[in-house]
Amino acid sequence: MRRIGVGWWGLLCVVLTEGALFGYLLFSYLYYAVQLDPAWIPIRHPSLRLAVPNTIVLLLSSVCVWWGERGTREGRRGRQLLGIGVGFLLGLAFIGIQLQEWHDKPFSLRSSLYGSLFYTITGFHMAHVVAGVIALAMVFLWSVLGYFDRMRNAPVLIAATYWHFVDAVWLAVFTTLYLTPYLG
């Protein structure tokens, strides 16, 4: 049985507090959405052309990271490196695609209330993705340096848990910003 010290519990607290942060961000958005005229959103139905594939990219990267973390626990270094590595690359891809999406939008952070909310919410999420990508890179580096084995690998579990959290937040953000306008 794997035994966990205190670091993972600390990460749970991070997940709780950052999760709450996104809760408040989405609350702010919904507070306006239920009170304002639908015209408050410049484009009635936000484009899903890039957002849906990007969601899949992020989900896939979580799967890879999970697989890599499982490999770590089983002492399989090849899987560990491959899983974390591909997860990291997919994370980078998410960032790139979303930057492109932002570039294509006809509104900006300052152009309207909606713009302020959209970019702030997706921006906060992006910042968490960047932090997660850096964490994955560090874990990858440490794995290459041979720091971990099947007993000692807490940083892998911690980084993986954080990454899954970032993914879960994206699902909430995606649903709120991109899907709820379609519900009329």
Partner: protein
């Protein structure tokens, strides 16, 4: 972070068999400035918190006295409106954020490992970080005040008055960025308490044996983790509106002023419970010492602590009763605000029963703990009155509420804290506080406080609004205001007596042994002051009052304090399971480190960059934080975070 397994099973031995000086060498902090900047010792950090918080208490108190001079007579012009507004806003910010929570963090930081039978908190470096950021953010916010740009829209900072068009100076920017900064300290501190509670208790300390102080701080910490993001977000959105040009609260673009209020109070209300529940825990642990018996109703009190906080998440709209919300919402929040008095009543009756069913010994600490029950009740019932919407429509934003908040804050935070000072000063310093001076201290503060704030209920009932820099003679508020001013100076004198008592007793106080109060909990089993390693061997706990077991005779089991696990392969403490407190792991603790201090410097640079629109400096700050984090989190062999740990 302290890491995973060491494969060895620790030996058990008598504490006399474990050499003191070796443990001392392992755990002590370097002397001088190097040690001061790098220490991760929870006792040192706790004391810093306490001293710093008291300094802010005195600053906030002086701000209040200046205001009371202005308000002593009608139509006075000693202060300009702007000066008055900055004073009352800074007073609120100081007391609520820079004194009330940090003082409790300080006591909890100092006491938790001792009362839980551990050697340190779960995350010692994070502990140091939470202090450094507290200090840095406090200085950041006061820098504004020092240059005449202090916060000037109240601690609650409503928009649109806090928005750029109505507040173009830097005042609100100091406040907003400073609060986001402080929020980091609060959050990491809270995480530390939560994980410590769950994982680093002494073997045998099951969850129903922990002191009530830990229940109070734990509850407050869970709440903080969940609600601090709300206010940090609010300040972030406001700062962005002010400096970046976003429209979150911009009425002309569809923004709403009430969003600020919701985000602020969803944080603000749980916060005011977070700043009293640990103090209530201090009363629940301290009163029994002087009543010579365990607390009446441990389980109801522990549960009511949690229940109060949970209900506390559902009452925030009672700060917004006059904003034009629909009746259905108002009724719900009014009802919840009335019901929340029930768990508080559990605590009041538990304490009262403990006095009646015990044999009270009068000491200064006891006087503070006992009197707070009455002050709590007064504060509680004035809150009960304002919980009723129609009554609140008369009383809100008047001095009635000012009376209420001071009864609950001074009654349920300051009085228990001072009681805690008298109780635990001997443990922290090895000396007793002077009891005679203590009585003068108590009566002066008690009388001064009530003289200042009891009449204030009447001032509010007679219609005096809050936050006004002066008032006209024809309203008939003159006499009441004068009495309040006199009382406030008497209260200040009382606090001064406390300071004098502390300073003189540090030098000349009677020497205190390990257990001058003949109390029952684990901290009294260590020397006064405790050595850096706290316990020579890890105690095994069999009840809530290990040192009273042989007298209470409530079971045949006995705690083991002089015999226990020897953990001396470097800095180590025992990890245990969350519910039963069964030891399951040896936790490797970090050495002293400069990373927390340096990270704080980098973060401060970052916030200064944002404040001054020096974006390059902000980026330097972020980079600095990233480097500090990488160094901090780099897996260390010594902490068991990497392979190749030496076996026993």
């Amino acid at each position: 972070m302290p890491g995973v397994i060491a494969e060895r099973v620790p030996r058990v031995a008598a504490s006399s068999a474990v050499p003191r000086d070796e443990l001392e060498k392992i755990w002590q902090t370097q002397p001088g400035i190097a040690g001061w900047l790098s220490s991760v010792d929870h006792k040192e950090i706790g004391l810093r918190y306490i001293v710093t918080a008291f300094a802010f208490l005195l600053l906030g108190g002086v701000e209040a006295l200046v205001m009371r001079v202005q308000l002593a007579r009608p139509d006075q012009q000693l202060l300009t409106p702007e000066q008055y507004n900055q004073l009352y806003s800074t007073h609120g910010m100081t007391m609520i954020f820079l004194y009330a929570m940090p003082i409790l963090s300080g006591f909890s930081n100092y006491l938790w490992p001792l009362i839980l039978g551990s050697r340190d908190m779960a995350f010692p470096r994070l502990n140091a970080l939470s202090y450094w950021i507290y200090l840095a953010s406090g200085l950041f916010m006061y820098a504004g005040f020092a240059i005449g740009a202090g916060p000037n829209d109240g601690w609650f900072n409503y928009v649109p008055l806090a928005s750029r068009p109505y507040n173009p100076g830097m005042n609100i920017d100091f406040y907003a960025l400073g609060m986001i900064f402080l929020g980091v300290s609060t959050t990491v501190g809270a995480a530390n308490f939560i994980v410590t509670f769950l994982r680093t208790r002494a073997p045998g300390m099951s969850i129903n044996r922990v002191p009530i102080l830990t229940w109070g701080t734990l509850t407050a910490s869970v709440a903080n983790v969940l609600v601090v993001p709300s206010v940090s977000l609010a300040f972030c959105l406001l700062w962005m509106d002010r400096q970046i040009g976003t429209h979150f609260f911009d009425v002309s673009q569809g923004g709403q002023a009430l969003l600020w209020q919701h985000l602020f109070w969803m944080f603000g209300h749980p916060w005011v419970y977070a700043i009293v529940l640990p103090a209530m825990g201090m009363v629940s642990d301290g009163l029994p010492v002087f009543c010579r018996r365990p607390l009446v109703g441990y389980a109801p009190v522990a549960l009511s602590t949690v229940a109060t906080m949970m209900l506390g998440f559902g009452v925030w709209v009672h700060h917004m009763f006059a904003t034009g919300l629909p009746n259905l919402a108002l009724s719900f929040f009014s009802g919840a605000s009335i019901i929340i008095t029930v768990p508080s009543a559990v605590a009041v009756f538990a304490w009262t029963a403990t006095i009646w069913l015990g044999r009270p010994v009068i000491t200064t600490a006891f006087l503070y703990f006992a009197s707070m029950i009455v002050l709590f009740t007064i504060g509680g019932v004035s809150g009960f009155m304002t919980a009723s919407v129609p009554v609140d429509w008369q009383l809100t934003d008047t001095y009635f509420v000012v009376a209420h908040i001071h009864y609950v804050l001074i009654g349920i935070n300051l009085f228990p804290v001072i009681g805690g000072v008298y109780l635990w000063f001997p443990k922290m310093t090895g000396r007793m506080l002077d009891e005679r001076l203590g009585r003068w201290n108590f009566w002066t503060t008690f009388i001064g406080f009530n003289l200042a704030f009891l009449p204030m209920h009447l001032t509010g009932l007679r219609g005096m609004p809050r936050r006004i820099y002066t008032y006209p003679h024809e309203m008939g508020w003159d006499g009441l205001n004068l009495i309040t001013t006199i009382g406030s100076f008497l209260l200040a004198l009382g606090v001064l007596l406390l300071v004098i008592n502390v300073l003189t007793s540090l030098r000349h106080g009677v020497a205190a042994g390990a257990n001058p109060w003949d109390a029952g909990t684990l901290e009294w089993a260590t020397p006064s002051p405790p050595p850096p390693y706290n316990f020579r061997v890890i105690p095994h706990v069999a009840s809530r009052h290990p040192l009273w077991e042989s007298r209470l005779k409530e079971s045949d089991e006995r705690s083991l304090i002089e015999d226990g696990m020897v953990l001396d392969h470097g800095r180590e403490t025992a990890g245990s399971t969350p519910l039963d407190g069964e030891p399951d792991i040896i936790l490797k603790m970090p050495e002293d480190s400069y990373a927390p201090f340096l990270l704080t410097i980098a973060a401060s640079a970052g916030f200064c960059g944002l404040l001054l629109h020096l974006w390059w400096l902000a980026e330097v700050g972020v980079a600095g934080v990233d480097v500090a984090l990488a160094v901090w989190l780099w897996p260390e062999r010594r902490l068991g975070q990497r392979v190749e740990v030496k076996h026993v």
